[in-house]
């Protein structure tokens, strides 16, 4: 065996090790992004549940002052029930949930708009606390969604770029959906500000 062969083998081994390290780095970045997206989704989930929990209280308080706004109140209750059902059903994707949450957001928006017409209700300390809680929870849903979508954006960009897309294919790093809360009213009418 000549010295040339040894040099060849040495270079080959070095290149192989470098390649392996590089593959490991890409794989680990995928894992990191996926965990970050999962965490982001968990944050969204916490806030959605918080909103489900707030609504019965809110409905009860509004009922005490504006009991004849039955349609609006019923719409909120049924939208909440539907959202909870969609949320608890297994294999629900971000898309279906976005639709149900969008309807709930709309119904809540209408309820808060109606509440504006009742000065006694607006002055109720319990209602004011609930209003701040709801405003904040809606904001948190929005911000956690923003964070989740940003993370998914980075994940998807990495997943589709060359050469990391090859690793994604081999190790089944699947496509993730953005979480979009469908809101038809948002497109048509200006949103109501609670502040």
């Amino acid at each position: 065996m000549g010295i040339g062969l040894w040099i060849f083998l040495g270079v080959f081994a070095a290149v192989a090790v470098l390649l392996l390290l590089w593959l490991i780095a890409i794989y680990n970045k995928f894992v990191r992004l996926r965990v970050e997206a999962d965490n982001g989704w968990a944050q969204v989930d916490v806030q959605l549940k918080r909103r489900y929990d707030l609504i019965p209280n809110l409905v009860e308080t509004v009922k005490g002052y504006a009991s004849h706004e039955k349609d609006t109140l019923d719409a909120v209750i049924s939208a909440r029930a539907k959202a909870v059902q969609t949320h608890d059903a297994s294999n629900t994707g971000a898309k279906e949930m976005g639709q149900a949450e969008g309807e709930l957001t709309q119904a809540l928006g209408r309820l808060m708009a109606v509440a504006e017409a009742y000065p006694d209700l607006k002055a109720n300390t319990n209602f004011m606390a609930l209003q701040e809680e709801l405003t904040s929870t809606e904001n948190k849903i929005g911000f956690s969604r923003q964070h989740y979508n940003d993370t998914v954006g980075r994940y998807e960009e990495f997943r589709m770029s060359f050469p990391s897309n090859i690793i994604a294919g081999v190790f089944n790093f699947n496509k993730r959906d953005y979480f979009v809360i469908e809101n038809e009213a948002e497109k048509a009418a200006p949103t109501v500000s609670f502040s």
Binding site: E36, N39, G40, Q43, Q47, A129, E132, E133, T135, S136, N139, K140, F143, S144, Q146, H147, T151, S195
Partner: protein
């Protein structure tokens, strides 16, 4: 679109100037562009600081030995062999090659195995100088480590900040919670500073130990959107590890100042010996080199401070852009900055130069009064109009 500024109408001047400055930015600019630019600029400044440190080290290292050689013949330990040495060009290779045997015969002083005899009479002072530098290094490193772990608590105590619970201020807690969710960080501690001045700051060595503090004055004066902007700015500081980076910068400045001080002392101690030899005619190039090195070691600490402050200003811009990344609402922070800029009494007595960079507005009266709207090389914060202009450029 020029957004109407609630509360900003008291000084139409400010808005005029802001409008002028907005034109400097392209209409398509986004916070992503600003964040990229600021990160690039601050990386550049860190590189500059390291380069300055390396340059100072190289020049001082290159000068100290020849300077020492120049001083030896007048020193008490000088022998006839050393006198011969002094007449040669200390910069030439031949000099370096032929010195060994002469130095050996001249009974060189050895400190830790290094031949320091060439330092001549400077060698007499060297142990004390080294000791001084060592003590300074230990104190400096100790201080850096202490401020890394205890700095947050110290500053909170210094400004009499009190940690608050959600029951005391639900809205403030909600806003902080919203912003930390947007940043994907753990919930920081929330402190109130009982001061009428308008200011806020963030601290903590990492996001897990994050703290946001706001004065009661500022808390009372802002609406929800503005409060969100201010908290987002502080959250961006935590997210960008600004406490860690500014500590790194301060440590580098300290090292450069120390090295320059060490060099100046060693040349001053050696100065008498050199003058004695000058009558015999020293190398002109060597003297020029020494003079340049002395000048540099006087300028370098100032330059280092300048880079540090430029860096601090970059981090403020970065935190502003990062705040918009979190809130997606540049007008909230811009409006809050307008209110802050009208404040004449920012947290004066409780802040000092070392902590100024952590506040949203420069808390030092002297710095603020004269530099608030002026671009100053030594201000830790950029002019407020420029900050508002950058934010409003995003809101067009």
């Amino acid at each position: 679109m020029h957004a109407a500024a609630p509360g900003g109408s008291r000084t139409p001047n400010l808005d005029e100037r802001v409008r002028e400055r907005i034109k400097a930015y392209p209409g398509t600019i986004t916070f992503h562009d600003l964040i990229r630019k600021n990160k690039r600029d601050s990386a550049l400044l860190i590189v500059l600081m390291i380069a300055l440190g390396v340059a100072i080290g190289a020049i001082i290292g290159g000068v100290v030995l020849p300077v020492g050689m120049g001083t030896i013949d007048a020193a008490s330990a000088a022998t006839s062999d050393y006198a011969k040495l002094a007449d040669r060009d200390p910069m030439s290779d031949e000099f370096a090659d032929s010195t060994d045997d002469i130095v050996d015969r001249a009974k060189p002083t050895r400190v830790l195995g290094a031949d320091v005899s060439v330092l001549g009479d400077a060698a007499v002072y060297l142990p004390s100088l080294l000791l001084g530098a060592g003590v300074a290094l230990v104190i400096g490193a100790g201080g850096a480590i202490w401020s890394y772990f205890q700095g947050a608590n110290a500053i909170l105590r210094m400004v009499h900040a009190q940690e608050i619970t959600p029951e005391l201020d639900q809205e403030l807690f909600n806003v902080v919670d919203e912003m930390r969710i947007a940043a994907g960080l753990p919930m920081p501690k929330v402190y109130l500073i009982p001061e009428s001045a308008l200011n806020a700051f963030a601290t903590g060595r990492n996001p897990e130990n994050g703290v946001v503090a706001i004065t009661t004055g500022l808390r009372a004066k802002l609406n929800r959107d503005e409060l969100q902007g201010v908290i987002a700015h502080e959250m961006a500081h935590i997210r960008h590890f600004d406490i860690r980076f500014s500590l790194l910068m301060a440590t580098m400045v300290g090292l450069i100042v120390m090295a320059c001080d060490f060099f100046l002392r060693i040349t001053l101690y050696g100065g008498a010996g050199r003058r004695g030899r000058d009558s015999k005619g020293g190398s002109g190039a060597q003297i020029i080199l020494v003079v340049v090195a002395i000048l540099l070691s006087i300028i370098a600490p100032i330059l280092a401070r300048f880079i540090q402050m430029a860096y601090s200003r970059q981090r403020e811009y970065l935190a502003d852009a990062g705040a918009v990344e979190l809130t997606r609402n540049p007008e909230g922070l811009a409006s809050a900055l307008r209110k802050l800029s009208h404040d004449e009494e920012p947290l004066v007595d409780l802040a000092n130069r070392g902590t100024a960079h952590m506040f949203i507005m420069n808390p030092l009266r002297k710095m603020r009064k004269s530099h608030q709207s002026v671009k100053s090389m030594f201000s830790s914060h950029p002019p407020v109009e420029e900050r508002i202009a950058r934010l409003m450029a995003l809101a067009r």
